[in-house]
Structure formats: C-alpha cells, structure tokens
C-alpha cells in the first residue's frame, strides 16, 4: 500500500484544521458563543448541521487516498513492489467494493437484467436477442420471482444491524450530553437515520444495484457518493481562496481610503462587470490548454484531474471576491469612524495593530455569513459549469458530470431516470441543508436581522 497525497487532499485537511482552530478561538468570545448557541438552540439548526457534518465526513474519508500494492507477477523476483494505477480511498473500502461491480450498460434500480437487448446464445446454441442477466445483481437467487422477498429479508437484517450500530455510536453521546439544554435528540435521530441508511446501502449493494447503473455500467449510488467529495471541496476551497483577497483588499480600502480605496473599487467594479460565467469559462479553457501542452507534470491520471479541480477552485475564488470585498469595505468605513478606533489613533497605535485588534474582529460576522451562503451557491454552480464543459474533469466523479451524462436519457423510451435522481437527491439534500443553516447563521450573526427573529 502506498499513500497518495493529492493537492486537494492536503488543502482540505489544512482547511479542516484551520476551521477547527478558528472556531476554538472564536469560542473564547462570549458574544460569538451566545450567537452560536442561538443557531443550535433550534432543532432545525441541529438537524441541518448534522447533515452537513455527515457530508463533510464522507468527503474527508474520500480524501484519504492510497494505491494498492499489486501481487508480484509470477516468475519475477518479489523485491520490487508494483502499485495499482487506480487510486483507492478509505471510503471505497468502507463501501465494500461497491465501485468495482460494473455491468455492461444501463440497468434499472434492483433490476436483474440489463436495460438493453444484446445478441446471445440460448441453451441450445441458437442466436437470440434478449436482455442479458446482470453480472453482479441477484446472482444468488434461484429464480427471478424471489427477488422482492429476498430484498425485504436483507433490508430487515440490514436495518437491525444499522440500529445496533447506531445504538453503539449514540450511547457515549447520550451519556455525555443528556443534560444539555440543546436539542441533541434531533441530531441523534439524523445520525441514526444516516447510519441505518449507510448499513442498508452497503449490504444491499452487495447483491443489487440500488440506484441502477449508468451508460458505462457503473453503480449510480456509488457515483453519487463519490460526488460528495467534489461538491464539498469545491464549495469550501473556492471560498477559502477568495477570503484572503477579499478581506485584505476590503479592509485596506475601507481603512486607508484615498487612492487605495479608488484602486480597490476600480478593481472590483472591473471584475464584476465581466459576465462571471464567461470569465470562468475562459480561465478554465486557458488552463486546460496549459495542461494539454505540459502532460509530463502529472504522473497518474488522477493528478491531472486533481490539478484541473484545484484550478477550478482557484478560478472560482479569484473571480468571486468582489461581493464580499464590497461588503467588508462598507463595514470597515463605518467602523473606522467609531470612537474606539479614533481613540486608538490618538494613542498612536500602529495601523497594523488597529486593523488586527479593532477592525478585523468586527467584520468576522460578514466573512462567516458569506462562507456559509456561498457554499450552496458553489455546489449548484459546479453542476452548471460541468454541463458547459468547463467544470470538473470527467474522470473525477461529480454530480455535474452525472447530470451532464444523463440529461438526454429521459427522452428514451422507457426513460432512464435513475442516474439523474441519484445526483438530484444527494445534491438537493446538501444544498437544502446548507441553505437552511445559512439562514440561521445569518439571523444569528447579522446585526440588522438579529433583533427580528426569522420565522424559520
């Protein structure tokens, strides 16, 4: 086994580390603690946070990559170890080979036979044209009629195991948190549901394709889960790249005023007057040309896809800082007029210290709200960009690529709906949770709305 560290893996673990540090530091501020407890005082806040945390956990598991060692070929000395060209992640192991059960082409959810007819021989050797049996679905069944009773039996067993696992997982939480005033029950319910669903999916997937297979015969449920990492990483990394630019320029423009302000305003007006999608498309195309001309930089295909992915995050970040910059500039303009900043000036405190001690902490809430709000917008944007052809590399699983590959399949007769619905469900749940959570965060942190409680 050889561990593979892709650039996006490094970035995402750094991101999680810095977020943890950030929140640990924020906890010391009593005002911010009170606002967070307002977010988590509602059941909705607990549920949406748990859902988002689940997605992030899946993304992190899928970011631990390695290459399997291959068995030494017979006759060769076993001194040198060869590694598989395919990169595996911890999530793949946990899904128990779900991604390795390929069929020939489309098959419906829980189907035993392929979606398309094929020439084959019957038992007497004559040429016939029929739907061939799937390689990895229901091979243990004696006859096709046993399918649904078998599914029900296996589901019941999986559900029992899932409940047992949830009980083990939730017991320590219950012991620790049962006296807490926060509505932890809502979170536990979601955790139990997620665990049961995961156990069910993995155990049923051994015998059936729960969401069918796509054009290339890959399991749709597996692909949808692989899309989680792409969506979560894109949503967070792009914002992370945008933050330093927007915050630095915005704070400087609002604090120093004069020509600095003029320059920053000019920069963001220019940038925001270019149609965003064209700017992104042009940048991605240019980077694609660069990758095509320098193929030697990347040793395995995955690294190439990863480079393109990081470039996409980078481009999305660089092209989208103008909104946040504008907000921070306005807020800084307001704050730098306040008495305590004037007083700090009078005491001769240096500019750097005033910015760090007095201004930055007071714009943190804007950064936080933007971070959460942009997340769902970026996840949605990924699908559109992949459709246009400037998104994620097709070799890297993503919901946008799934939609793009299946968009015309609804017009077939009978319609192939399962590829789209797989991407739809996973994407919808994540974006909905993020949107609802961001509403709560905004209500708690935005001074304009914090007095007026939102109905949700």
């Amino acid at each position: 086994m050889k561990i593979v560290l892709l650039w996006s893996d490094v970035l995402v673990f750094l991101l999680v580390l810095s977020l943890c540090l950030f929140f640990y530091k924020l906890r010391q501020d009593p005002q911010i603690r009170q606002r967070w407890s307002q977010v988590f005082a509602s059941r909705l806040g607990m549920v949406t946070f748990t859902v988002i945390a689940t997605y992030v956990a899946v993304a992190l598991l899928d970011s631990m990559h390695f290459r399997r060692a291959l068995d030494a070929p017979p006759g060769l000395a076993a001194q040198e170890v060869f590694y598989d060209n395919k990169v595996t992640s911890v999530l793949d192991i946990m899904l128990d080979g779900m991604g390795e059960r390929f069929e020939r082409t489309y098959s419906a959810p829980f189907a035993l036979r392929s979606f398309e007819k094929q020439n084959m021989k019957d038992e007497r050797g004559r040429d016939i044209r029929d739907f061939p049996a799937l390689r990895h679905a229901g091979t243990h069944l004696a006859q096709a009629d046993d399918k649904w009773p078998d599914v029900a039996r296996k589901s019941a067993r999986a559900l029992l195991w899932g409940l047992l696992l949830s009980a083990l997982w939730l017991a320590p939480q219950w012991l620790l948190l049962r006296g807490s005033p926060r509505p932890w029950r809502a979170s536990w319910a979601v955790q139990a549901a997620v665990l049961c669903a995961a156990v069910w999916l993995v155990s049923i997937s051994r015998h059936y394709h729960v969401l069918g297979t796509d054009l290339g015969g890959a399991d749709v449920a597996y692909q949808s889960i692989k899309g989680v990492r792409t969506g979560v990483l894109l949503g967070t990394l792009a914002t992370l790249i945008m933050l330093p630019i927007a915050v630095t320029l915005g704070v400087m423009a609002g604090y120093f005023k004069g020509w600095v302000d003029d320059l920053v305003q000019y920069l963001y007006t220019t940038l925001s007057s270019i149609p965003g999608i064209l700017l992104i498309a042009a940048s991605v195309l240019l980077f694609q040309v660069y990758i095509d001309l320098n193929p030697d930089f990347f040793s395995i295909g995955m690294e190439k896809a990863d480079a393109r992915f990081i470039a996409l995050c980078f481009i999305l970040g660089v092209t989208s800082w103008s909104t946040l910059c504008r907000l921070i500039r306005a807020e800084t303009l307001k704050i730098s007029q306040l008495g305590y900043v004037q007083a700090a000036h009078a005491f001769g405190v240096s500019h750097l210290r005033i910015l760090g001690r007095h201004i930055l902490p007071n714009v943190v809430h804007i950064i936080l709200i933007t971070f959460v709000l942009d997340f769902s917008a970026l996840v949605l944007a990924e699908a559109v960009l992949s459709y246009i052809g400037v998104g994620i590399d097709p070799s890297m699983g993503s919901w946008g690529n799934m939609i793009n590959g299946a968009r015309s399949e609804l017009s077939r007769e009978p319609a192939v709906w399962w590829t789209l619905s797989g991407a739809f469900i996973f994407m919808f749940v994540l974006v909905l949770a993020a949107n609802l959570f961001s509403d709560l965060v905004r209500d708690a942190f935005d001074p304009r709305t914090s007095t007026r409680r939102s109905p949700l």
């Binding site: 498309a281 246009i388 017009s411 789209l420 994407m427 974006v431 909905l432």
Partner: protein
C-alpha cells in the same frame, strides 16, 4: 442629472479599458497565440509551418504591444493589442475563428434571446410579487413558515433539473409543446412557452423570498402601524401602503438586470435549441473560439455598466428624495 450621466459614462471608460486589458492578458499573454494555434489545429497537424499559417490567417502574427519594425503610428497600431482589443471600442468585433462576422451574428442572434428573456423577466417579477404578497398576508402563521421553507427548497434545486424536468413533463409526457427548437413569426409562441415557464418557475424560490423580506421590511414601518391604528383594512394596507413603497427597492433591484437580458440565458437557450446569444457563447466556449468569447465579454461589461447607470436614474425617478449630483 445630465452632467451626472455624462460623468458616469466617462467613468465607464477606465473600467472598459480595464476589462479589455484583463481579457487581453488572459487570451494573449498567459496563453500565447502559438498555444491557441496548437489547440485549434488539433494534435495531428502541428508543424511550425502550420502554426505560422494559422497565425497569419487569423492575424495573430504580429507583436503583442510594440511593433518595432513598422514606422510612425504603425508601431502601436500594427500589433495584436491594437487590432484585437482596441478595435472593440469601435464595436468592430472582427471575425470569429471560423471566419464568420461576429457583429452580424450578434445582431441577428440578439432577437431570439430577447424573445425568451423579456417575457421570462416580466412574468417572473409579476408571479414573484403575487406569491410574496400572498405569503405576507399570512405573516407569522404556520402557512408563512412552510412557504419560506418551500422557497428555500425551490432554491436548492439546480437550474438543470428545472429544465430537464420541464422538458420531460410538459413536452414529453403531456406533449403540449415541442421539446426544443425555435421558429420566428406567428409560430414562435409555441416554442417560447416552455422556456419561459421553466425560467419563471426556477426563479420563484429566490425571487419570492427576496420580495417577501422587502415587503416585511415595509410592514414594520411606522406608517403601517398608523394606518392599522386608524382602522384601515389589512387588504388596503397591503395594496395601498406596503406594495407601492416596496416597489421602490424592487424596481431599483431589477433595473440592473434589464440590459443583460440581451445576453440571454446560457442554459435555457442551449437546452431548448434557441439560436440566441446564450447558445452562441456556449458554442464558442465549447469550440474554444476565443474571438467570440472576447467580444461577448466586452459586450457583457458594457451592458452591465449601462445597467448600473440605469439603476441610479431609476432611484431618482422612483424616490424623489434622492438627487444625483
């Protein structure tokens, strides 16, 4: 007022120059004409002679900024920067990489884009305001709460699914309208119905939610309380006081979008096969036709700046307290 507009137009010039420089840097400095030639010609035919021929054919064989070999003013004009970027200011877009005249293409493709975008825009605003008003009427009840949840849920669905779902339901299952295509003249409505419907439905989530907050902001004002104290009915408060006052932020918020309607919608046009500017851009992006992308970036920024100026004007028109000077 007039002086203000002139000043805003003058202020637009440095921004357009900035846009121009940025696109120039992106297209010619980061990515040299040789790289472009290689990607355009495909891998098979890349020889130095072929690259040179391609560059000559498309006018990329000149120096970037300063042509030292030419004499007089031509040192600056006979360069890629002048012929490809500065000429855009005279609305001379030149030819696409496939040899078509971009100005003609843009002026013919503008109309189908408008035919879809204008009705979507107008009907969308009307529907959003109606939905938001209905929700505001039931403010702080369970219905209101579920409506907001519904808006957020609608917002969380990707635009692609609205289009795919609309095509599947309306055009394929119910067979009410053609799935895609476009036809000018009297038959046009058949082809426009579904794109407009999809555009309106897809916009309800975010639109109605935004209008609802605007209406609620007005509903918390003192004059509303006064009207209620004087015994005005809820209906007359809603339509007589809240709606007219909330129209000001709505108006100024949507005016900025009007010029960009010319650009059309990338997704709607490509899915429904409408020959507008949106699908034009998409085709250019897919065939890596940088000449078209460059021109569209320029047109898009002009329209955006016009939108900003119109917004300022609409402020003074809608709210007499604001004066521009």
């Amino acid at each position: 007022m007039f002086a203000y507009i002139v000043r805003r137009l003058l202020y637009a010039i440095p921004i357009l120059v900035g846009v121009n420089l940025l696109t120039f840097l992106l297209f010619f400095v980061v990515n040299s004409p040789d790289d472009m030639a290689v990607s355009q010609l495909g891998e098979k035919y890349v020889t130095p002679a072929a690259i040179q021929a391609w560059k000559e054919k498309n006018g990329y064989d000149k120096p970037l900024f300063v042509n030292a070999q030419a004499a007089g003013a031509a040192t600056l004009t006979d360069t890629i920067f002048f012929t490809k970027s500065v000429r855009l200011f005279a609305f001379d877009f030149g030819r696409s990489e496939s040899g078509r005249d971009i100005t003609t293409d843009v002026s013919t493709r503008m109309w189908p884009s408008l035919a879809v975008a204008l009705p979507t825009f107008a009907v969308g605003i009307w529907v959003n305001i109606c939905v938001a008003l209905m929700v505001v009427m039931f403010h702080a009840t369970r219905l209101d709460r579920w409506a907001v949840f519904g808006f957020v849920a609608l917002m969380s669905i990707s635009y692609l699914f609205y289009i795919i779902g609309g095509q599947y339901l309306v055009a394929k299952s119910w067979k009410l309208v053609p799935i895609s295509g476009f036809h000018g003249g009297a038959q046009a409505w058949k082809f426009l119905l579904l794109p407009v419907l999809v555009g309106v439905v897809a916009g309800i989530g975010s639109g109605a939610r935004w209008y609802r907050t605007l209406f609620l902001e007005e509903a918390n004002q003192d004059y509303v309380r006064t009207a209620r104290a004087k015994g005005a009915s809820e209906i007359s408060i809603l339509f007589g006081h809240i709606l007219p006052n909330a129209l000001i932020p709505i108006l100024t918020g949507v005016v900025v979008l009007i010029p960009s309607l010319f650009m059309g919608s990338l997704l709607i046009e490509s899915f429904f096969g409408i020959p507008g500017l949106g699908s034009y851009m998409l085709d250019a992006i897919r065939s890596q036709d940088f000449a078209i992308v460059r021109s569209m970036v320029f047109i898009g920024s002009i329209l955006y700046i016009v939108g900003l100026i119109l917004t300022d004007i609409s402020y003074t028109w809608a709210d007499p307290r604001i004066r521009l000077n």
